[in-house]
């Protein structure tokens, strides 16, 4: 069974978290993500969950890391300035393999920038912002429906891979209201429990260690220092460090094809748009208006790890067009994977690309 709602994107995100069984929210409200925290504050305690408004975003993510280690499905929500503050603990979550969900409703940056305007300027920061080598997962909703669905998915991926998962929304989708079909139940992928007698950071074939269940007799040391399979610091052992960090990266990057989430439209086309988040909507409008099978579209729902295999699905492609509400962050990533021309269509200032913006770029590259 389903029901129909007319929800704001941020409301749909919070409802997705509740449907996924999120039972801990810690964070600090910031425009344009505030409605996520407001909705969780109103709903979560009534369902037996915990909502804590922390003193800042640093404490917000620290609280969800702690909650996750007690077994909670934990989430925070923020925007760019808050994501910047969270960076140290995002690395800590990656190093300690803590499943948690961070909602980032992007606004114009750098710094305080444009609190009420839309942007996608944090796409590289979210991948590489904390020190050292690590990997994360990032999802990008383009509809209010996907604010719900991808939040659910974020929790499942976080638990499956024991990694921070980011919903990289933008102000456009976070603040608009539209139709949402809400299912009665959602899929739930639980953490793989640690087998008794196994070391807590000894990974299985999938490169993911089992999770020690709180209160089930495990004694686990959790540290951001380079640690051995027992969890004890081993920060001067070069080989151990190399193996650990390589595994943290490989457990995500090696699974990129398994977890890839994208749509391919008109795979035989010669000119191909690639978009994620709000610009997807502009590309869809242009595709509809032009009705030209020689224009293709790769619509990404998962941006990190980047699904490079998707590029190969466009066998006749001669050029890729990348509209982003930043100065070409993912265009640079895409250039890394293909030898064909990559035409960045950057737009900053806070407004979504118009169909005319994209059509004029197509006309300039016939």
């Amino acid at each position: 069974m389903t029901r129909t709602e007319f929800w704001q994107g941020n409301t749909a995100c919070a409802e997705g978290a509740l449907a996924a069984g999120c039972n801990f929210f810690g964070g600090y409200p910031i425009t344009p993500s505030t409605e996520v925290a407001e909705h969780m504050a109103a709903k979560l305690p009534k369902r037996g969950g915990v909502f804590i408004q922390m003193e800042d975003e640093i404490a917000g993510i620290a609280s969800i890391i702690g909650a996750a280690w007690t077994g909670a499905r934990a989430m925070t929500a923020t925007s760019g300035p808050g994501l910047s503050l969270m960076m140290e603990n995002i690395g800590f979550a990656a190093m300690t393999e803590t499943p948690c969900v961070v909602i980032n409703v992007q606004r114009g940056g750098p710094s305080t920038g444009q609190p009420t305007m839309s942007a996608q300027g944090d796409m590289m920061q979210v991948r590489f912002g904390s020190q050292g080598d690590y990997a994360i997962i990032a999802l990008c909703p383009a509809t209010v429906q996907e604010m719900f669905e991808l939040t659910v998915k974020a929790f499942n991926l976080a638990d499956k891979y024991r990694v921070p998962v980011f919903l990289m929304a933008d102000e456009t989708i976070g603040h608009m209201r539209e139709k949402v079909i809400v299912p009665d139940t959602v899929e739930r992928v639980n953490r793989k429990p640690l087998v008794p007698g196994t070391l807590p950071f000894k990974a299985d074939a999938d490169l993911v260690p089992g999770f020690p269940q709180f209160g089930k007799g495990h004694h686990v040391h959790v540290t951001g220092l380079t640690h051995d399979e027992r969890g004890y610091p081993a920060a001067t052992n070069p080989k151990l460090h190399a193996n650990l960090v390589q595994r943290l990266v490989d457990k995500i990057e090696n699974a990129r094809n398994d977890m890839a989430d994208y749509d391919v439209i008109n795979p035989g086309a010669s000119r191909v748009f690639i978009a994620y988040g709000a610009p997807v909507r502009t590309v869809q409008q242009v595709m509809y208006d032009l009705n030209d099978t020689d224009i293709g579209f790769l619509r990404l729902r998962m941006v990190w790890p980047f699904p490079e295999k998707a590029l190969a699905e466009f066998k006749n492609a001669k050029a890729f067009f990348i509209p982003e509400m930043n100065l070409g962050q993912m265009a640079r990533e895409i250039e890394r994977h293909i030898k064909l021309p990559v035409i960045s269509i950057p737009k900053i200032g806070g407004e979504l690309h118009t169909p005319a913006d994209l059509i004029s770029t197509l006309e300039a590259h016939p």
Partner: protein, 176 residues
């Protein structure tokens, strides 16, 4: 069939709520698609507030309004900032109690704030009077759907007052 409706007035009149009610009526009760957006800047706190709704029989791709075909304007500042650009063949409903200018396009004058105050003794429901008039004049959503969406959205205990305001608006909007 697609309509793009722009609402503007001053903060506190219920401009945003009006747009949400129309979107909700379209999506939940008329089984159509709608996207509602609004201006979030600091000017929305006391200055001219603005919200837009797209209503379509088919899924809405590009979510931003380019050229509204219907305007609902409830303050002079809102007119100057968000209504003055209107041209034919758009239609504009104005609260003639509060808006002194008139647009270049077809204009339907609804003395919503005056009528709400005189007839219902509550000018706070002027926005609901305007919604009734909007639906009578443009049929952007059905009357029954508007009624249900209003009941979903207004505080408990104010249902009768708001339904009377809607009825008043329906009458005012039907006048030639």
């Amino acid at each position: 069939m697609r309509n793009e409706v722009r609402f503007s007035g001053f903060g506190g009149q219920g401009i945003i709520l009006s747009a949400v009610i129309v979107g909700r009526a379209a999506v939940i009760y008329d089984n159509k698609y709608a996207v509602q957006t609004q201006v979030y800047g600091p000017e929305a706190r006391g200055g001219a507030s603005m919200s837009q709704v797209i209503i379509d029989d088919d899924p809405i791709l590009y979510p931003k309004v380019a050229t509204p075909d219907i305007y609902l304007i409830m303050s002079q500042e809102g007119f100057e900032k968000y209504g003055a650009v209107a041209e034919d063949p758009s239609v504009m409903l104005i609260d003639s109690t509060l808006v002194h200018s008139r647009p270049k396009c077809r204009c339907i004058e609804i003395p919503a704030t005056r009528e709400a105050k005189l007839t219902l003794k509550k000018d706070i429901v002027a926005n609901i009077v305007m919604l009734g008039a909007l639906v009578a004049a443009t049929h952007v959503v059905s009357e029954e759907s508007l009624r249900k969406a209003i009941l979903d959205s207004v505080p408990k205990g104010t249902e009768d007052l708001n339904l009377k305001a809607m009825q008043l608006g329906l009458q005012l909007g039907k006048q030639p």
